[in-house]
Point group: C2
Chain length 319, copies 2
């Protein structure tokens, strides 16, 4: 897998699966979308692995592990504007892993699930060398109302919720998935596409745009930088951290021009969380321009963006 | 986990989760059962991990790994009489795992899914030290028609499909989940409880009976022994293998006395697969009696049965 990069792995697997059946949205979005028989609702399905040494460390508190594993799945559901319903949790752990720690994982998972309106309905426990959790989530929305990654148009404005960068200092273990905000965005009108930022804006925005055959022009000065990005002790700029750190679990969405103003003022009246317009969609497929305050512009292709991130993203959705 | 046994681990985790909401069946069955909004259908949710070194070995062909991972989940659905609908597959693998082998895993998974009427809608790929698959499955049945483990009554006859034992010689990698048979049993009338045999009859039957507060009397001569059980080269009897080997993925179900005869003759007219009555449910909670052809009887408690198996089952459902 290492040699070809994980985007290519996903494409190789999708070739095996073939096309999703009519009336559904298959791999390629935050969630799969399936119709319910004889019902005006659709369901959104998603799954996410959380593995020791990659998503958390040996000394991460078990409650935080459970919180993060459930949070990642709820963030996928939030990105569809979905109402979370049901969760299953598979845990694999070494045979000497303490039962009390397993219970604490479940406490962390259960607490966040309840807060977001979801119920853990079971799962499975097994042995493995490494501690890992696989959470499976189901949410719902009225038929055809779930917001997909596909749907953005040239001229749409690009928004992000919250602030980006530096999540490794702690937020990646205690973020609150934007479930309420996602549902609000589904119903407020004018939101044309949405996803959550798990691998960093610089990796995730090109994914959204590749699906739509479009490009983007971002304003560097508008990108909301989290104070944690400034606290990262290395040689990279704050902006670099905001673009590439990942695990922000904020919402990235596009808004049609005639809805922009109303949406911004309604959001302010509803949420304390900031919501920033960071740029605009262009018709130039997979061209990304960043405009700096000093007049300088930088341009990347999607491939360049991905290289810019880390050479290879740590992991890859293919839902 | 090792010290307390996995049944106790499950109970410890269930205490954290609390009770499932009304109208649903939570942990404790082959699948969780949830209602669909505004629909005459219910959905069955299940998940299963398949881990290298436990469920398959480093030299297991990748197609067989995919087949087994999907087969386990479809067997859970079969045990509810469910119609399989949707699957997600999470794969975690070492970074140097070949993409071609991953594709072959998906080919094996996809082939069995199609055969059983299910569609793989995506999933996720991540890195881990050990190759593992986590499959999530959804099936459906008309509301309140899914067959649960709970429901058996004293006097009911106990049946198993197929033949048991020796699956390690190869069947554990290529079994066909009893999806058609499960659906047939859901609609034929008289089936009061059902589960699939994953950890061996001697472990799984007491689980079903513990939920019902009942016991069982089995006839040793009626237990259908697979030819593979006789081919196992060790000092144990064929019957011991049939009772304890596990990974049979056959259906274990109970039938009310007035339906027994009709069910047996209708089954014979419908399936080539054998279906055997192996004993009867008794009112003596968690007492298990095995009657041998020479008149000898042996009695175990559920705890004794579990000890008899292996001291500790390899893994444990808690759906």
């Amino acid at each position: 897998m290492r040699d070809v990069g994980e985007d290519a792995v996903i494409r190789a697997l999708l070739r095996v699966l073939g096309r999703a059946p009519g009336g559904t949205t298959g791999p390629g979005d935050d969630c799969a979308v399936v119709p319910l028989p004889d019902s005006p609702w659709e369901w959104h399905l998603t799954s996410d692995p959380v593995v020791e040494g990659i998503h958390f460390l040996a000394d991460t508190p078990p409650r935080a592990i459970g919180h993060k594993a459930v949070g990642r799945v709820l963030s996928d559901l939030a990105a569809m504007g979905s109402e979370p319903q049901w969760l299953l949790i598979d845990v694999t752990a070494p045979p000497d892993y303490p039962v009390r720690a397993l219970q604490d994982i479940y406490r962390g998972a259960s607490r966040l699930a309840k807060r977001c309106g979801a119920t853990i309905m079971g799962g499975d426990v097994g042995k493995a060398e490494q501690l890992s959790l696989h959470v499976f989530g189901i949410g719902q929305a009225p038929v055809n109302q779930g917001i997909l990654r596909r749907g953005a148009r040239a001229g749409d404005f690009i928004f992000v919720s919250g602030r980006l960068g530096g999540s490794l200092l702690g937020r990646h273990l205690k973020f609150i998935p934007r479930v309420a905000e996602g549902q609000w965005l589904r119903t407020c009108g004018g939101v044309t596409a949405m996803m959550d930022i798990s691998d960093g804006l610089a990796t995730d925005l090109p994914r959204l745009l590749a699906l739509n055959g479009l490009g983007a022009e971002l304003e560097a000065a508008s990108i909301p930088i989290h104070p944690d990005a400034r606290r990262m002790e290395d040689t990279h700029s704050d902006l670099y951290h905001a673009l590439t750190d990942g695990e922000d679990f904020e919402l990235l969405f596009t808004v049609s021009p005639r809805h922009r103003e109303q949406l911004e003022s309604d959001w302010k009246a509803t949420f304390k969380l900031p919501c920033r317009c960071i740029g605009r969609i262009t018709g130039q497929a997979q061209q990304f321009l960043i405009q700096y305050p000093d007049g300088r512009q930088e341009q990347w292709t999607a491939a360049g963006f991905q290289h810019f991130v880390s050479g290879e993203p740590e992991r890859e959705h293919f839902k």
